[in-house]
Symmetry: C2
Subunit: 593 residues, 2 copies
């Protein structure tokens, strides 16, 4: 379920929130925006939206960002679409792209006048109003899209002529026009920004009198700095209550003080709105994170220390992947690589890993864009040091385990997963002894589902994990482990080298659920598995990282490059599960090795 | 996987066994045979087979029994098929019926001469030999059937002319003929009965020399009584070692002593065969249970106290139902009713209940045959007593709970499931207070999978259950429970009366796994669920039992019939799950009611 109207209906009285972003002007800005969205999405906004470039100038970028938001960041995405400079063929092209990307939500707008013009004029073969756009989407795309429209609590700025605001007649015509947009297919209203909460609450009341019964979501733009605030309210012809002007006047040159006031004001406005019956806050983030997050924290709507996940990994929001409930553990630290590989799968399994085995995993074509330059620099700095022997490699892995390094070639994430820290000491010891760990999880036996860090899913359930460790090691060390295996009957393993030589004590179709949860009135949910078939796909990626991400830092013929190439050529990648999650000790087999 | 050859290959060195039955001559005999098979199947024979009526006289009965064995008793079934009196159209008819019943195993035989004749003569349009039959099956049915053929360690009786046995030449021709049956498509050999183990072991050796590498399964016919033994060995021209004749001579008129000797001899013969390399014993049961079971117990191949189930219920053996891994709990005490209802489902879900929701549950057309007359008599005797009020009904339910009654209208089984006995006292108290329980299970938290009584599946796993109780009760008592529900957040319930009025705190698509198991290198197995949609099918059956099975015992206008009809019309059927299988107490909500 990804349509906003459906998600709102499911909220059950809880106050929801959503975030609006705009397309940044630089490549680096885009990279940072994804990072920011990733962090903000962890708090489960009802949706995030991305604006259509003003005057249609950055249409391609908007489309690209919307696609990545939906499919790589996995936030439920709404894309703005305006009529400015958009003949109908371009509208269709955009809608088809959005649909192909599995996005189901559109904010249908008329848009601002084209750059350099004062008045909106319809382009030839295009639409003159949001109403026409809504009608067109419904006519040609049926129920596929959830359509949101804009509401103007102070009337559309085109009809505001002086500081006194719009005339009563203009305001009423505005309401009637909004009603016609809803009748044509609009399902949700997001409002223009405002700073007078009474204006919004009156607007809601007036809408209801005009027969508009859709959810009306207030658009909140927290004040981040004084000049921006002044520019924006002038452009939108927004009424600003005197007490806000009075409060800002003495601090307007102190950026920190303005920001703090912005947080305070935003919090108070939201409190008033919630008290007035609002169930959903739409935040104009201006691509900034702190102010918005501070407001939500003040309101008690988010808690940085207790991010409750619905699954151990962030579920995809693409409508074609809604059924996805299970993933191989191998990509736990490289979720985007996994999403990229599996982006062309036609249909995701309804809960069973089995059914998704047939389609081949794709290549990583679409993956490079998400590589962050900053991570590459960190890797070069931390992992590009002089390497003379395998022992130097062991030391680097051990240092990463202890938290002394921040980047890791085998992880997209900047830090170790929190749960791994529980077993840091034992992992560090393994790495020092030549078992180069790249993925692990501790055993978990019946922890309540709302336990911070480990928990996921709704409260009232119990969470389980089988202990897991995955590492590279030399053939000799692998041999030593395999010879001890008969003494550890609860362990199952698969080992493979770059040539594909395989050792294992399980069958190729033995899919092992290593993370599961038991919830009231539900079947057991099994989101993470060890699957021998996907392990063979993963091993190519895992071995490739030795050379493409790490050895490539060094010049040819350097000793370091030679050490890494030899490791790549000779080592095995080993995956071990301890199936006794109650009494087992996965690390016991490594004792004395 | 139901083909015998595949199952033999999977045995992994363990000694397997199988049981042969013949079609009884009376209806009561057939009824008893099913009961016997049901008990014997609990010990997981590799397969059971049913003979083709001698001379083809009971062909229809054989087909019927084979179908019921496979689909209601759920034992992997092999049907004998002979050429006697069978023109090719009749062969085809039989094979099509068997195939439609999901049976995959045929024992292809020439058969004995028709009744009243001395010599086998091919019927017009029929086959003259097992070899022709094997060829025909392979040609027309490809790989669908697993084909077993008969082997004659002492040569086929047709070629045995005196007490010295067959000639060397006849014996060799016999081996060559067996080889041709294998080349034509035979996969497994089951031998004629014998009493000299050396004869069998030599036969195996000779077969190998003739290039026959298929499994050769010795046919063992334990001695049950003296005259039968004499008749059978004469008919089959079986060599009987002198020490057996010597042992039987002094006890031949003492049936008990002969039986005890039969068990002793069978055990010793089997031990010798196993020591000689035999991995599979085929037992000619003569439709008798005790001797065969005693031999297997002596050999340590079965243990009455430790029947290890692969799932909490016996999995279907019909090839079309192989994927079935989940069932609603409602039919736990009426497995045959469930099998009957679902017998026409096209395809069983691969592990997910969800996919099987669409096909409607069938009616119970094929069900009545399995009603046992003895159960009907017991019901009439125990449940047909004078009833004047609801309290009399409560008392009967409570007495059944305490084990004072053996039959129960809502159960096909003769006794309470063993696990229910753990909560007998609390259930009895519920029944005394007007909560008339018909199904229940206690909570189980991480018991090892080989725990007697509760365990199922392979060893090394952990078993879980959510506590469950299902009962009829008055609207007033239901109301009292519902009003207490908010204080018991771990409970979920559905209640419905005969008219379909429903109360529930879960959604209609909320499928609750109430029995599951976690095993090494496997996904979590969830064989039993509470599914609201199938509950609505079950409730019709459950309410119907009040009238069709119980009230029907009484004459019209009797007070008892009135009490039962009123209960049927007014009570609710209630299903409650305690989702907290670790700390919950399902019975707490009934305190003070």
């Amino acid at each position: 379920m990804t349509k906003i109207i459906d998600k709102i209906k499911q909220q059950d009285g809880k106050v929801a929130f959503s975030f609006e972003f705009f397309p940044p002007r630089t490549e680096e800005g885009v990279e940072n925006l994804y990072e920011r969205m990733d962090r903000m999405a962890a708090h489960q906004p009802l949706f995030c939206d991305i604006t259509w470039g003003a005057g249609g100038t950055t249409a391609d970028l908007t489309l690209d960002i919307a696609t990545k938001m939906q499919n790589m960041i996995c936030v439920n995405t709404m894309m703005h679409l305006t009529c400015t400079n958009m003949p109908v063929e371009k509208i269709d092209e955009a809608l088809e792209k959005v649909k192909a990307a599995g996005i189901q939500n559109i904010l249908a707008l008329r848009g601002d006048p084209p750059k350099g013009q004062d008045k909106f004029v319809a382009v030839e073969g295009g639409f003159a109003s949001a109403l026409d756009l809504v009608k067109y989407i419904r006519l040609h795309y049926g129920d596929y899209f959830g359509i949101t429209v804009a509401g103007y609590p102070e009337c559309h700025p085109d009809y505001i002529e002086g500081p006194g605001g719009a005339s009563e007649q203009a305001y009423k015509e505005n309401l009637a026009y909004l009603k016609s947009k809803m009748d044509a297919g609009g399902e949700v209203i997001v409002t223009q920004l405002f700073y007078d909460t009474d204006v919004f609450l009156k607007f809601v009341k007036d809408c209801r009198e005009y027969g508009i019964d859709a959810p009306i979501v207030p658009g909140i733009m927290p004040i981040n700095n004084y000049s921006g605030f002044k520019r924006m309210t002038a452009f939108c012809k927004t009424k600003v209550p005197q007490h806000i002007l009075d409060a800002l006047e003495p601090i307007k040159d102190n950026d920190e003080a303005v920001k703090a006031y912005g947080i305070h004001l935003g919090t108070e406005m939201c409190k008033t709105l919630i008290a007035g019956g609002t169930k959903h806050l739409h935040l104009y983030t201006l691509n900034l994170e702190k102010t918005v997050m501070a407001i939500l924290t003040n309101l008690g709507l988010i808690d940085e220390s207790k991010v409750q996940r619905t699954l151990p990994w962030r579920p995809p929001t693409n409508i074609k992947r809604r059924g996805e409930e299970v993933r191989p553990i191998f990509w736990a630290n490289r979720p985007r690589s996994y999403l990229s590989r599996s982006s062309n799968w036609d249909e995701f399994p309804k809960g069973r890993w089995g059914d998704s085995r047939s389609p081949a995993y794709g290549t990583l074509n679409d993956y490079q864009f998400l590589r962050k330059k900053s991570k590459d620099l960190k890797l070069r700095e931390e992992w590009g040091i002089d390497l003379k022997s395998s022992e130097d490699v062991f030391k680097l892995f051990a240092r990463y385990c202890k938290g002394e390094l921040s980047a890791f070639p085998w992880s997209e994430l900047e830090t170790l997963q929190p749960e791994s820290q529980l077993i840091t000491d034992r992992l560090t010891s393994l790495n020092e002894r030549g078992f180069l760990t790249i993925n692990s999880q501790p055993a978990v036996n019946a922890e309540p589902s709302d336990t911070p860090g480990i928990g996921w899913g709704r409260p009232g359930g119990y969470i389980y994990q089988k202990a897991y460790v995955e590492f590279f090691t030399s053939p000799e060390r692998l041999q030593a482990i395999i010879s001890k295996m008969p003494g550890f009957p609860s362990l199952t393993y698969i080992a493979v080298n770059v040539k594909g030589e395989t050792y294992s004590n399980i069958g190729v179709t033995d899919v092992n659920a290593v993370t599961w949860g038991v919830f009231p009135a539900k079947e057991v949910i099994q989101p993470t598995v060890v699957d021998p078939q996907s392990f063979m796909v993963w091993k190519d990626e895992a071995f490739d990282i030795w050379t493409s991400e790490w050895a490539s830092i060094y010049p040819d013929d350097s000793p370091a490059k030679k050490v890494l190439q030899e490791t790549h050529d000779g080592y095995f990648l080993v995956s071990i599960v301890d199936n006794d999650y109650i009494r087992g000790d996965l690390f016991a087999i490594f004792e004395g090795l």
